[in-house]
Each structure stands twice: as structure tokens, then as C-alpha cells.
Symmetry: C3
Subunit: 353 residues, 3 copies
């Protein structure tokens, strides 16, 4: 339905150039991978590794940069400064970004003291508590529940059935998907008189601008001070951020990873999926933690860390993996050490093995 | 309340035979484990291992197969071709499957363009978007939110407070529990100009027939193409399926396990709980991944794999575990190697240790 | 807004004594960490390790015990029998506990057969099924969905958008945060005739008094018998408890940890974050499982256990970690063993390495 002619498409992209496209009125109607068995589609060549596949692609148009275009002499191409940014722009043509319809559902319960900005959409079965302030052009999707004193910036979307506890502050251009929970109590108890006594959690959650949370995430309020997330951070599904974490800017955390309490992440930290970061760990700017890693101590320097509890950097982890086959046979090697000792007349100490 | 007489119970089960049951009008009122201290209950002997316990069971009736019945000469029994299928049938007598009441709550918001099948129940505070198509005899439980263009087959149930994003397609006999999220965006960004730029996620989630999802699961839409789940798959709670995964038929994934992007699972794959499967991994038909396993590379053949990042199959993992005690003392063994070298006059290379 | 004078604050705490406080009418308005750069705040010295920081604290008042007070001769202090319990009491002054407003939202759907206790609050877009019994002074927050036959004690709070399946029983003083799911089906199938046949899950979830669940948790109903949680247990976010688990009293489970089916936990068990406990494991009273640990077998005695799949107690794990650097170089050590064998004339068996 959003078919677009090649020349119109070229006009969308600054400094782009159509090459080998005799019919500028030819239309494309979707974006597909190079190997798709389809018609009228755009595809893209994101690196040299895909040039070969591109040569036999049925794509009506290939998005490439100038360098890669040289390897595709006869293919119809849109030569662009940056393939990925072009791809994003073309996809937005076919799938326009969701925008607020500016209406408040009659089935939403909005406290009188709440301030809802211009052109902000409030969905069905939403509740918005006292003194909540929501900016302009936001979407509060169906089923969202927002407690008192929450602040949300402009152009932000809270996904369906998400829950936001009191006092949480969220910046501009926020995006979350379904069933995530923001600002629940941190997990803090003191064991006295035979039971776990709850330490009141009175800090807030404070989230910067341009942050995305996936579905079914949780981020807890701080104990005394706040849990803080910087600008430009992106969190996948089922990410858990415990109380008092301080997260810098442009941090990525992939699915099912969690930060225990009081973790500090610098800017541009990348954490793969299924990672567990222990409490009070600090990661400096640019640190990368490979998926499936548990960290128990703070690595000293920026590097790639990997591996369960081992504190290994990436090269050592590679050696570790190679040596697993030796660990599996370690008892045999130990037998050989003992045999040698016997032969050379070394007497093993009492109880040594 | 659903008490049943022994002869009526026997009639429920094809090719069953009551043995040692003088009073066919005796009633049972529940199913309990063999060791239960109760009256008027049915129990079952699912394998030879339980024959001894069965002998002293207080059960009014034991469900057994013909082979095991020989070991229980005097016990009141229902001898059946298959114990487990019989158990399922008897449990359904006591606890009938939930069925649609066929009503649409006046508190549901259903778009005019949505098509809801015959005898489908739509619960309270449900929202159903434009062009949604739902089959017959479905239950859309309280609080469910369904965006535009979603398709759901017949006899499917969407559990309370689940969320389904636009375009998701779900087959027949689907079942999900609470707070699961279907079709949120995949997690894809490209880092350019100092920030993570979101790659639009425009694929769908497509789920076959007879699939079950537990509570608080997430499955993401594909990036350009779809995330696909075959028929007969069963997923436990908090299972995460990332964008572009292709899952075959009759796959099982237990609690808190996750698939990173573009994972391909063959048919009859079994993945235990708390597993992390890295992106682009392929598992062939029938592969078994033991609980607690991380996989970083694709195993070559059908087998049982286990262990963090080790790529070990089950027998090697058993050896690995035995050798952990040697790893713990590895420094002592290394000392012994050095002592031998000294004794036999081998000079360690500079910086070798 | 809840400013309090020092003498009033002292009156809140039994057996407390103000020391070095010339102006008893001085006011404090919040609780902050020792190092806070602020005015009019209370802080606290919870152990000897903080005495040095306390000396330079800008706090208007330091909460300390008598022993630590000796090290702070000139600071304004509230000397108390127990610092942490005092802190809890003071925080409750500044942040009073949420209490029920006693109203039932006109937007809640409450079955006629349901019994709601005195002074219990029922929020917006809540549904409460047939024969549900809820005690006095409870809060059923916005968006909660409760199926038939659920029982909830007194003074309990069910957090926003939580879901409770039929028959679940919850005690007094319960607290849960957002999007948790109680009483979904356990994960049980039997593979027959080419497919996974669902075993009906007909047990309940039964939860004692004084239990807390965080956000996005799941606890499943039992298969034939019940899933049981004792008194005083506290569960963090994204904790998963599978069918038929039996959990004692005062158990702690931190974020993203899960129990597979039929796990038995004694009293006062502590499980850190990101742990995976295999099915049928038993942990005796007081067992501690460090964060990031997988357990595949039941430890025999009360101890601290740690480490992926290794079954190591804490001291052995420390040795294990030290030896990782040796594992990384294990191939070199094996080379040295072979060199020695050569030198001393031991012939390695065919295929031995």
C-alpha cells in the first residue's frame, strides 16, 4: 500500500544516486533480505560479505555504498553514504512510526491533578494518578497503570499493560513494550528478631532521554537515593535493574540479563544476553560483557569479558575453551604425573592426593 | 463434587478393566499420589519404580498397565493400555477443561472492523484492535490487549493481562497464561553518530497450532522477516524468544530459558530451564540441551549437550564434573610437575610459569 | 513536608537518647547516606566501617548504637538499641506506609459471590471472580485480575496488573509489585503419539503470611498436590517457582532465580540472584546458594554453595577461581608432562593423548 517509485525513493535519501535503473517509475513495495524469492522489493548490501549474494539477488533495487557498488557493475542500485541509515529511512516509509492520535479514552481514569501534554494519547483502561505530569505527543497505551507523582517527557510511549510506580521520572523519546514494571521497591531486608524486616525503599527511578525498554523488564526504585539510567540506553526483554544502579549513557543490555544492587555502568557499556552482574560491580566506559557471563568482581580496565565467574578477558577465555578437553581428562594427566614421580623416585607427601 | 463410581470411571477409559474391585458402586472423588493419607481417591503406577509404594497405597483404585498389574495381585486396579493418557482423562473428569462462555464483556473495547468467531468469550477490560480476526470457541481472558491486524485461530485461549502486538498470528488450540507479551519489537540497533539507532522491526510473530506459552513470556517480531514457531511447541514461564528465530514442531523450552536472535530449532528439540542459546545457533531435530546450559556454537549432531559454554556432550560433561576436584587442586599438581622437572634436570623456559 | 524536630524524632524510638544536640527544636526533613551534600538530614552508622565517614558527615543527626557512639565524641547523635530498626521507623515517618482507602472502584468487576473484607480497597479495572474471599484492610491495586476461588488474608496488597489464577491461597500481610502471575499451570507434559500431551495441573498455590513478591514473578500451581510457600519469605523480581515446590519459612530468593519442579527448601534458605535450582533438589535449613549458581544435585549439608554446576562449597570455589589461570594454560602443562615422560623414558600408551 505504500508502494514507492524508484525516483521518489531516491529523493527520500540525501546524496543518494540511482545506478542501472532504466525505469525510474518502477515501483517497490517492501524491503526484504537479498535472497528473498519475491518481486518489487528493495534489499541492501551492508558489507563486503554480502556482495556475492547481492549479485544473484532478485531485488528491484540494492542499497549500497559507493565502495561496494564497484563490485556490482550491472545491478540496479541506490548508492548512498550510509546503508543502514538509508535502510531505516526506507523502512519508515513502508512502516510509518506510530504517532499519538491525541485522544484520551473515556475508559481511562485520569486524576484531576494530573497534567497531560498537548496531543498525548491516553489509551483504554489506563489509570493516571495524582500529580502525574506527562509531556506532549506521548502515547500511554491500553492498560498502562501510572501511580502518583510520575513524570514523563515528550514523545514518549509507554507500552501496553506496563506499570509505573510513584515518583518515577522518565525523559523524552522513551519507548517501552508490554508488561514492564518501573519503580517497584528495591529488594532490601534486614534480618532481626527471627524475620526479614523490610527496609523502606524511598529512592526513585530516574530515566534519561531516548531510552528503550523491551517487554517484561523490571527496574526498581533506589533504597535511599535513586536508581538512575542515562540517555540513549537500550534494554531488551526481561532485563532486571536492581535498586541504586547508576547507568551511564548509550548502554546496551540484551535479554534476560540483570544488574544486582548498586551496580555502576559507564557510558557505552555493552552487556550481552543472560548475564548476571553482581552487586556493587563497576564497569568502566566501553566495557563489553559477552552473553552468558556472570561477573563477581569489577574488571579493572575496559576490555571484553566473558565466562562464568571466571573474570577472563576474551583471549584468555578462548584458551580456556580449548583447555576444557584437557580438564575432561585431567584425572588421566594426574595419573601420568604420579607414574613419573614413581619412576624418578619422588615420594608423594602423605595425603597429598 | 465430581465423585464418580468405579464402573463409570472404567467406562470413561477405552479397553480398561477393573480388577479386585468387589464394589463397583464405590466412589472416588479425587486423584492423589500413591502415598496420600486420604480416602476415596484414585492413584496411578506410572513405572516399575512405584510398584512397591503402590502395594501400601491407601488408594481406592490404582491405574496400572497390564505388565505392572502382575506385581500387584490383590490391589483394586483399573488395568489400562496407557496409564498417563488415562490419568489425563480422569483428571479432566474431576477438573473439566475451561470452555468459553461465549459472551463479550460490555467492558471490552472491540474495534468495529474486528471479527470475533462464534462462541468466543471476550473478557473484561480487553481491547481488540482494528482488523483483528479471532476464531471460534476462543477465550480472550480479562485484561488482554490485542493490537490491530492480529489473527487467532479456533479454540485458543489468551491468558489474563497478556499483550499481543500488531500483526501477530496465532494458530488453533493455543494456550497462554498471565502477563506474556507477543510480538514486541526485536532488539536491533546500529551504532552511528554516537548513538544506537533503532532498526525498524517490521517482521511478524507467527505461531502454529497446539502451542502453549506459560506466564511472563516474551516473543519478539522479526526484523525484516518473521519469527516463527511450529506446531505442538510448549514453553514454560519467562521464556524469551528473540527476533527471527525459527522453531520447528513439538519443541519444549523450560522456564527462564532464552533464544537470542535468529536461532533455528529443529523438530522435537528439548531445552531445559535457565538455558541461554546464542544468536544464530542451529539445533538439529531431537537435540536435547540440559538445564542451566549456555550454548555459544552450534553442536554438529543430535545429542544431549550440557554445561556452561563448554560445548560438551553429556558423557564428557560427567567426566568434567569428576575433574572439578582436580581443577580445585591444579596448582598443587603444577607444583609437582615443577618438582619433577627439577629432579630430572629439565630447565623450565624463561617466563614459562 | 514531614519535617520532624529532633526531640519528636527521639520520642519515636524507644530507649533512644539524643547526644550533642543543643537545639532540640532543630528539624530534619529526610534520611540520606552519610556522604550526602545536603542540609537537615538524618543519617546512620550501621557498622564500624562507617565511623570514619560519619565523622565528616554533614548530617544533622547520626543514628548510632552505644558502642559506635563512643567513636564519635562530638557529633550530634541519636543513640539507639538497634540502628536498622530505628532507620525503618524514621523512614516510615517520612514515607508513611500505603494504607487502603477502603473504596471499591466503580470500574472494578466484582462477582456477587465474592466476599471483600472491611476497609479493603479495590482499584480500577480490577476483576474478582466467583467465591473469592479477600480479608480486611487489603489493597487490590489497579488492573489486578483474580480468578474464582482465590483466598487472600488481611492487610495484603496485590500490586498493579498482577494476575491470580483460580484457587490460589495467600496469607496475611502479603505484598506484591507489578505484573506478577500467581497460580498459572505447572509445566507438565507426557510425550505420546507424536506430541506433548498436557498433564492437567490441578494443585493449588498456597502462600503463608508476611510474604513479599517483587515484580514480574511467576509461581505455578501444583500438578496433583500444591505448591507451598511458608511464612516470612521474600522474593525479588522475576523469580520463578515451578509446580510442587515446597518452600519453608523466611526464605530469600533474589532476582531472576528460579526453582524447577518439586524443589524443597528448608527454613531460612538464602538464594542469590540468577540461580537455577534443578528439579527435586532439597536444601536443608539455612543453606546459602551464592548468586549465579546452578545446582544439579542436592548438597548434603548446610553450607554456602557456589558455582555453575560444580557442587562446590565456598572455600573450594575460591580455590577453583585461583586455578582458572592454570586451566587457561593447561595445554602447556600437559606439554611439560609429555616432555618429562620423554626424558625419563616413559612411553605414553597408544592413543593416550
Amino acid at each position: 500500500m505504500n508502494n514507492i517509485k524508484l525516483n521518489a525513493l531516491s529523493e527520500l535519501i540525501e546524496n543518494s544516486k540511482l545506478v542501472n535503473c532504466p525505469d525510474l517509475n518502477a515501483e517497490v513495495r517492501q524491503v526484504l533480505p537479498l535472497g528473498a524469492d519475491a518481486k518489487n522489493f528493495v534489499s541492501f548490501v551492508s558489507s563486503k560479505a554480502f556482495v556475492k549474494e547481492a549479485k544473484s539477488s532478485k531485488a528491484t533495487l540494492l542499497v549500497v555504498n559507493a565502495e561496494l557498488a564497484e563490485g556490482l557493475p550491472e545491478k540496479p542500485m541506490l548508492v548512498v553514504p550510509n546503508v543502514e541509515l538509508t535502510l531505516i529511512k526506507i523502512l519508515h516509509h513502508f512502516f510509518p512510526l506510530e504517532v499519538s492520535n491525541g485522544t484520551h479514552s473515556p475508559n481511562a481514569i485520569i486524576a484531576k491533578s494530573a497534567k497531560i501534554g498537548a496531543n498525548t494519547q491516553v489509551g483504554n483502561f489506563v489509570t493516571i494518578g495524582e500529580n502525574v505530569v506527562i509531556g506532549d505527543h506521548c502515547i500511554i497505551a491500553d492498560g498502562v497503570k501510572i501511580e502518583r507523582d510520575v513524570k514523563i517527557g515528550n514523545h514518549s510511549k509507554i507500552g501496553m499493560n506496563c506499570v509505573i510506580f510513584h515518583g518515577t521520572e522518565i525523559g523524552d523519546n522513551f519507548l517501552s513494550f508490554g508488561n514492564s514494571t518501573f519503580g517497584g521497591d528495591g529488594f532490601g531486608f534486614t534480618f532481626l528478631n527471627g524475620k526479614h524486616n523490610k527496609l523502606p525503599q524511598v529512592g526513585k527511578v530516574i530515566i534519561g532521554n531516548d531510552v528503550e525498554f523491551g517487554s517484561n523488564c523490571t527496574i526498581d526504585r533506589g533504597a535511599l537515593t535513586d536508581t538512575v539510567v542515562g540517555n540513549g540506553c537500550k534494554f531488551d526483554n526481561m532485563v532486571h535493574i536492581a535498586h541504586n544502579c547508576k547507568i551511564g549513557d548509550h548502554v546496551i543490555i540484551a535479554g534476560q540479563s540483570g544488574l544486582a544492587g548498586s551496580v555502576t555502568l559507564g557510558n557505552h557499556v555493552l552487556i550481552g544476553g543472560a548475564c548476571a552482574i553482581s552487586d556493587h560491580i563497576t564497569l568502566v566506559d566501553g566495557t563489553i560483557i559477552a552473553g552468558g557471563t556472570s561477573l563477581r568482581t569489577s574488571p579493572k580496565a575496559k576490555d571484553v569479558y566473558i565466562g562464568w565467574d571466571l573474570g577472563l578477558n576474551y583471549p584468555d577465555f578462548q584458551k580456556y575453551r580449548v583447555n576444557i578437553k584437557n580438564v575432561v581428562n585431567l584425572n588421566k594427566w594426574i595419573k601420568r604425573i604420579k607414574d613419573i614421580e614413581k619412576k624418578v623416585g619422588i615420594e608423594a607427601e602423605e595425603g597429598k592426593d
